[in-house]
């Protein structure tokens, strides 16, 4: 049990705690940014997949709408059926990085900033395909009578979308979107494969260096339990809090305009 005391003393080191804390912040910011950007891209994809269609009476319009709809379906299905890690690797090689951003910032080296940028791009691309399907579910939950009502009041299609359909669709999907934040927080741990930025990678780095801090000179099994257990506790607290909020919202009776 003497090794356990050594392992626990790692967590008493304020430098290490600050190091882990920075990881938590990066994890949270990354996830919120990914879901935020994913919501914008995903909404566009969902709208295109659902409504970009017209009949064959105007062939040119039909070709254009079909083209965009197919593009959106292809995007969504491609990202949904391949793992995130593949896209992280792909973006590391192929995603363009504005060299003007290659500075040290947020306490990261310029190389890490570059990796963070590219990995965040992968996370956003991946998350947007999931959110597109969530938004589509929300759009489908709005009864079609709402369109007819809008048209009869003289709204055009864009106005109907902005003022009538989207507000209702988004209100219906708030709980699902929050669950997606939980998933994205978990998914952001995939970044541990490429760089030491967010929580998981920092804890893993600490585990490899534990022999320096626990006073025994070797990495013991108690270090695994203390460090990974601590990380698990942090993830659990964040995600469980969110899931309680989700359940609160879900249990509220839905306000529905019929």
């Amino acid at each position: 049990m003497s090794t356990l005391g050594g392992s626990l003393s790692i967590l008493k080191n304020t430098d290490i705690l600050f190091y882990i804390f920075k990881g938590i912040i990066f994890t949270l910011i990354l996830s919120v940014v990914a879901v935020g950007c994913g919501l914008v891209i995903g909404s566009v994809l969902a709208l295109v997949r659902n409504y970009s269609r017209s009949d064959f009476s105007n062939p040119l319009k039909w070709v254009v709408t079909t083209f965009f709809r197919t593009l959106s379906i292809a995007y969504i299905e491609t990202f949904r059926n391949t793992p995130l890690l593949l896209w992280i690797f792909v973006c590391l090689v192929f995603f363009p990085f504005p060299e003007a951003m290659a500075h040290r910032m947020f306490g990261l080296t310029s190389v890490e900033v570059k990796l963070l940028f590219k990995a965040a791009a992968a996370l956003i691309l991946f998350t947007s395909s999931v959110i597109a399907e969530i938004v589509r579910g929300g759009l489908n939950s709005v009864p079609s009578g709402q369109f007819e009502a809008g048209h009869s009041q003289g709204f055009n299609t864009v106005q109907i979308m902005l003022y009538i359909i989207l507000p209702q669709a988004f209100r219906n999907i708030i709980p699902t979107l929050l669950s997606q934040v939980i998933t994205t927080i978990k998914d952001s741990s995939y970044l541990a494969n490429i760089a030491v930025i967010e929580l998981m990678s920092r804890v893993k780095t600490l585990l490899n260096l534990a022999y320096k801090y626990n006073g025994t000179g070797t990495v013991n099994v108690s270090d695994v339990f203390v460090l990974l257990g601590f990380a698990a506790l942090i993830y659990f607290i964040i995600n469980f809090t969110l899931s309680i909020v989700v359940r609160r919202i879900q249990n509220k009776p839905k306000v529905r305009v019929v």
Binding site: E77, T78, R80, N81, T82, P83, L84, L85, L86, F89, V90, V93, F94, I182, I185, K186, D187, S189, Y190, A192, N193, M200, V203, K204, L207, V219, N220, V221, D223, V224, F225, L228, G229, A231, A232, Y235, F236, N239, F240, S243
Partner: protein, 244 residues
């Protein structure tokens, strides 16, 4: 996008096609064993969650919440390093399907719980009143009805399971993603990024797309059928009252 159109790079991928085949074989093998474990765990904890006994429900709840609220990579590292540093290494494949099985078991348990929960309470009461035992009640009455609700999301979980084998990269696995990555960064094989990633993505897509499409079509047809049933029931009720 350099390399994507170079004949040389494609030739390299073709020469080392064994790497990709081995990768997908490992991935599917692992997914299969993980699926078995997750099904067993899912059925056990799903039944516990719907058993109506407080203590069993709490145990099942704790398992599901603990697993669902922490990342898979963390759990995988926990299993792998936990065994490695206590001197009993399990091997990467075993670690992989243990961690994946436990992780997806939590999701399977939720799917099964939801499926059983969707069955009307009267069915349980009817079975009890006819003197069915628990096993008979579940086997003959509840599960046959809930299986159609359970299966579509379960197929989705299988897709996620196959995608999540990519987690093994962090412990140096031999699944498709890890093999692809070591191929493109290897000293003698490196450089063919474009073709290798494309092939890897295509293999995943070919395996996962039919499954996820099946799941969503299935789900939609079930939803439509449910709606029809509700409308039919509603018309029967209104016609009945009008007739009286």
């Amino acid at each position: 996008m350099d390399g994507l159109f170079s004949v040389e790079a494609w030739e390299k991928v073709w020469i080392f096609r064994e790497t990709f085949l081995l990768g997908i074989t490992n991935t599917l093998k692992m997914a299969f064993f993980a699926l078995l474990i997750s099904l067993i765990l899912g059925i056990i904890f799903g039944l516990m969650a719907t058993s109506g006994k407080k203590i069993l429900e709490v145990i099942s709840r704790v398992y599901v919440e603990l697993i669902q609220n922490t990342p898979l990579i963390l759990q995988l590292c926990f299993v792998y390093y936990g065994f490695a540093f206590s001197g009993r290494s399990l091997g990467i494949l075993v670690t992989g399907f243990l961690a994946l099985g436990v992780y997806h078991g939590a999701y399977m348990a939720e799917v099964i719980r939801a499926g059983i929960g969707a069955i009307h309470e009267g069915q349980f009461e009817a079975a009890d009143s006819q003197g069915f035992t628990y096993v008979q009640k579940m086997g003959y009455i509840i599960l046959p009805q809930s299986i159609k609700i359970i299966l579509p999301p379960m197929v989705n979980q299988v897709v996620n399971l196959i995608k999540n084998t990519s987690c093994l990269y962090i412990i140096g696995g031999s699944d498709l993603i890890s093999n692809t990555y070591s191929f493109v960064t290897g000293a003698s094989t490196g450089g063919a990024y474009g073709p290798a990633y494309l092939v890897c993505g295509l293999i995943f897509f070919i395996v996962c797309f039919p499954l996820s499409t099946l799941a969503s079509i299935w789900e939609n047809s079930l939803k439509k059928r449910d709606m029809r049933t509700i409308t039919v029931e509603a018309t029967i009720v209104t016609e009945g009252t009008v007739g009286k």
